[in-house]
């Protein structure tokens, strides 16, 4: 055992955060070793890039807000239109690129709202126990017993189609997953000695929840949110496919496929590219989530 030398001078940033830096380097190293994780990161980065720079990258941005050119309709991929054109003569590439923004928005709101509702409920249920837990978990199980898509379908059908309603509906059915995840995690964290230790020094419940339980639940939450980004985008696209999702002319991949399916197989490019966009995005988020799980939360299970 080496005895560290006591220093009288103030420590540099690097010295003070050495442990953290090492931890991050370790994460980066483990993540970088996995091909699939890096693929996921790449796909997500590409997606975020498209969402951020969409209007500047899209060759025909006006085509995404309703401009049309019937003379050009249903043209195959060409130099002018890499992904071809749709039934209104709009450029599919532009619509796919701008669609990234819609999807990002959808994914963020749904997972965000899901986590904001679900995490506190889960922590409270797991920590408090007793009837509070019973009530929260019964309601959660109730929601879980009905598949989200079916419930969302019912909600959107009642509220009327539209991207906002679709997001509202999916947010409403998304939180139970977080409750269960966080509750299970809280139950195990609660048993850790450091929680008892905090209690023994007189910490109040909110302090314990915020400083001890929540940070220790973060890893699975981050992993789940990453995966859920993809799944939320997919679910929204599914509702779009049924015809209950985004509105024209707003470009949304699911809604595009919903229209495009009637143009199969002769105008294959129409549905191929939005479909591929969904696929790659969801794949990216899932691979990323999987990779994050491997480094952050290696023992947790896919629930």
């Amino acid at each position: 055992m080496t005895t560290p030398v006591e220093l009288s001078r103030p420590l540099t940033f690097r010295e003070r955060h050495e442990s953290k830096i090492r931890q991050w380097r370790l994460y980066a190293h483990m993540f970088g070793k996995s091909f699939s994780s890096m693929l996921g990161l790449g796909l997500v980065a590409l997606f975020l890039l498209l969402a951020a720079l969409g209007p500047w990258l899209a060759p025909y941005p006006e085509d995404t807000v309703g401009a049309f050119n019937m003379a050009n309709k249903l043209m195959g991929p060409s130099a002018a239109h890499w992904f071809g054109t749709d039934e209104m003569g709009s450029d599919i590439l532009s619509r796919v690129i701008i669609g990234a923004r819609t999807s990002l928005w959808i994914g963020l709101i749904i997972t965000g709202v899901g986590a904001i509702i679900g995490v506190p409920l889960g922590i409270i249920a797991g920590y408090r126990g007793g009837w509070v837990r019973a009530v929260i978990m019964r309601i959660t199980e109730l929601f879980l017993a009905v598949p989200g898509l079916a419930l969302a379908l019912a909600i959107v059908a009642a509220l009327g189609p539209g991207i906002t309603n679709c997001v509202v509906a999916l947010s409403l059915v998304w939180w139970p997953g977080y409750v269960r995840l966080v509750e299970a995690k809280t139950l195990s964290v609660k048993e850790e000695l450091f929680v008892e230790s905090a209690r023994s020094i007189g910490a109040k419940t909110p302090w314990i929840l915020w400083h001890h339980i929540l940070p220790n639940c973060m890893s699975p939450i981050i992993v789940k949110m990453s995966m859920d980004m993809g799944m939320a985008i997919l679910s929204a696209a599914s509702l779009g496919f049924i015809g209950l999702g985004a509105q024209p002319p707003a470009p949304e991949w699911g809604a595009m496929i919903s229209v495009a399916r009637t143009y199969m197989p002769d105008w294959w490019w129409y549905s191929l590219f939005p479909g591929a966009a969904i696929f790659l995005t969801v794949l990216g988020f899932n691979l990323l989530g999987d990779g994050l799980r491997d480094i952050l939360d290696p023992r947790s299970r896919d629930r």
Binding site: G66, M88, P161, P248, D266
Partner: protein, 530 residues
């Protein structure tokens, strides 16, 4: 690179499909004969002829039931059917029908005047489905079975369109219906998926949401136009919801006739050998209904401005040319139709002129355009409108809406959106069927979503209804058409063509514009086997 590979794959796939699809074209054969397969998108939830009617339901109703008269031909004409002949009293209030003596129900019972009387009474008392056509003019007790083969209707007032509605009043067998009555429901429960008719077909397999089979009625009292030898053993109406699947089914010969393909599909499938496209001018009008009572569109100048801003040619392009512009509120095939001069066509200068006169000279407003969710053409017209109105500084919000919600919203002035796209198919060839939509009494109906209020027009419609002389009526309707166009309660769009795609061995297709969108008269059809 990627695209090229995909293209090659797709081309290879298409080649493979054409090779494989070619021998696949074959109709269903059973030991009883050929069965025609009709691929359609719409289910038949309730078959009862006095409870529901939409195109798929009516296609089967028409096949298993008979009515007093039947529409046939293009232009549609009323042909005697159960009734061999009829006469009207001089005041136009009393109608007497003489029934064919050999007509009999599927179970062998003769079709009597009493059966006719019972059927009309049933329709009126249930107060569902077709009841609206006659209930204001006919009381159930004023239907009289004069003798076994004569039935008389005494109307409350002269009602010119009376006869034009009768083809949709099917006759049920009272004995069978009464036998299956539960709690005085007039046999409604039973007739949901059973039939008690006298038509050319009987019900076969009935698998809701999957397929509905009708079997030819051996010894149909009226015989078969294609000849006993050629007549099919039956028809299967198969639900195929996806247009792509419909097209595939037709190509592979799993379906002999399909409806509801996209305009672009029709162009494509026309090139497939062995496939015939039926393309006929229909009576379904498309209009963008304004809310004339509330909001910006209450301003006639704004309405005119919009009407002049719309690119009408795009409407035709959307259908790949298989549509024609409306020249009047009445469809071309309707009696009394006149081409109204000065129907608005795209004219931006004029549009801006009207806009300047409106309360919104510089636009700057947002108007919703509501269409039925899933109706592809309506959605695309919305996109056209959105693009066109940008030039007036008007923003359009294209909103799909479930049909029931749209109807609910459109039933009140307060909730009715500024612009709603509506397809309307008149149930008869009588001009009243369309004109009455512009009568104030129609408010609350989906087709009256514009809440059009012109007392003069309402009065003329009432007069025309009661007039017994066609000449008087024709004059009135001409005025009505002109006045409605002048008031611009809606953008008069186009008449889309009715189209079906079928295999070339399918014979006997007879078009009649009065039928609903996908509806086909199955009775004369047959398969010509090589």
């Amino acid at each position: 690179m990627f695209g090229k590979i995909l293209k090659n794959v797709a081309v290879a796939g298409l080649l493979a499909s054409s090779i494989l699809a070619a021998p696949a074209g074959a109709f269903e054969r059973t030991d009883k004969g050929n069965v025609i397969v009709f691929g359609g998108r719409q289910a038949i939830p309730v078959l009862d002829p006095h409870v529901r009617y939409d195109w798929s339901t009516r296609m089967i109703q028409q096949s298993v039931y008979d009515a007093l008269v039947k529409y046939e031909g293009n232009p549609a004409e009323i042909k005697p059917w159960l009734a061999e002949k009829w006469e009207t009293s001089a005041d136009g209030k009393s109608w007497t029908f003489h029934l064919a003596k050999n007509a009999k129900f599927h179970n062998g019972d003769p079709v009597t005047a009493e059966a006719v009387r019972y059927s009309f009474e049933r329709g009126l008392k249930l107060n569902k489905g077709v009841a609206w056509m006659l209930k204001d003019f006919l009381a159930p007790e004023n239907i009289v079975a004069v003798d076994a083969n004569t039935v008389r209707f005494d109307l409350k007032a002269p009602y010119a369109p009376f006869l034009s509605f009768l083809p949709w009043w099917f006759v049920v067998n009272p004995a069978e219906v009464k036998a299956h009555e539960v709690d005085g429901d007039y046999g409604q429960k039973w007739l949901t998926d059973h039939a008690a008719g006298s038509g050319p077909f009987k019900l076969g397999r009935w698998e809701p949401n999957v397929l509905y089979e009708i079997e030819a009625n051996d010894g149909y009292w009226k015989g078969w136009p294609q000849g006993e030898k050629n007549r099919p053993a039956g028809v299967i109406y198969k639900i195929i919801r996806e247009p792509a699947a419909q097209k595939a089914a037709l190509q592979r010969g799993e379906a002999d006739i399909v409806e509801g393909l996209t305009p672009d599909d029709y162009i494509q499938i026309k090139r497939v050998p062995g496939v015939v496209i039926q393309d006929h001018k229909g009576m379904t009008t498309f209009g963008i209904k304004f809310n004339t009572q509330k909001g910006p569109t209450a301003d006639i100048n704004l309405r005119k401005a919009i009407a002049y801003a719309l690119d009408y040619d795009a409407l035709i392009q959307i259908y790949n040319g298989a549509a024609s512009l409306e020249t009047s509120p009445l469809p071309d095939a309707m009696k009394g139709h006149v081409a109204v001069p000065g129907m608005p066509r795209k004219d931006l200068a004029k549009a801006k002129e009207y806009l300047a006169k409106s309360a919104y000279p510089n636009g700057g407003i947002t108007l919703p355009y509501v269409h039925v969710a899933g109706l592809e053409e309506a959605r695309r017209i919305g996109l056209v409108l959105l693009d066109n109105l940008k030039e007036l500084g008007i923003t359009v919000e294209v909103k799909p809406e479930q049909w029931p919600n749209m109807v609910a919203a459109g039933s009140k002035v307060e909730t009715s959106p500024a612009m709603t796209s509506v397809f309307t198919t008149p149930v008869s060839t009588d001009p009243d069927a369309v004109a009455y939509q512009y009568h104030k009494a129609s408010w609350g109906q989906y087709y009256a979503m514009m809440f059009y209020d012109n007392p003069k027009v309402s009065e003329m419609i009432d007069q025309a209804r009661a007039a017994t002389s066609w000449d008087d009526r024709a004059k009135l309707y001409a005025d009505i058409q002109k006045q409605i166009v002048a008031d611009q309660p809606e953008v008069f769009g186009m008449l889309q063509n009715r189209r079906w795609a079928h295999r070339d061995y399918l014979q006997g297709f007879k078009f009649s514009p009065v039928r609903f969108t996908g509806e086909v008269d199955l009775y004369p059809m047959w398969v010509k086997a090589e």
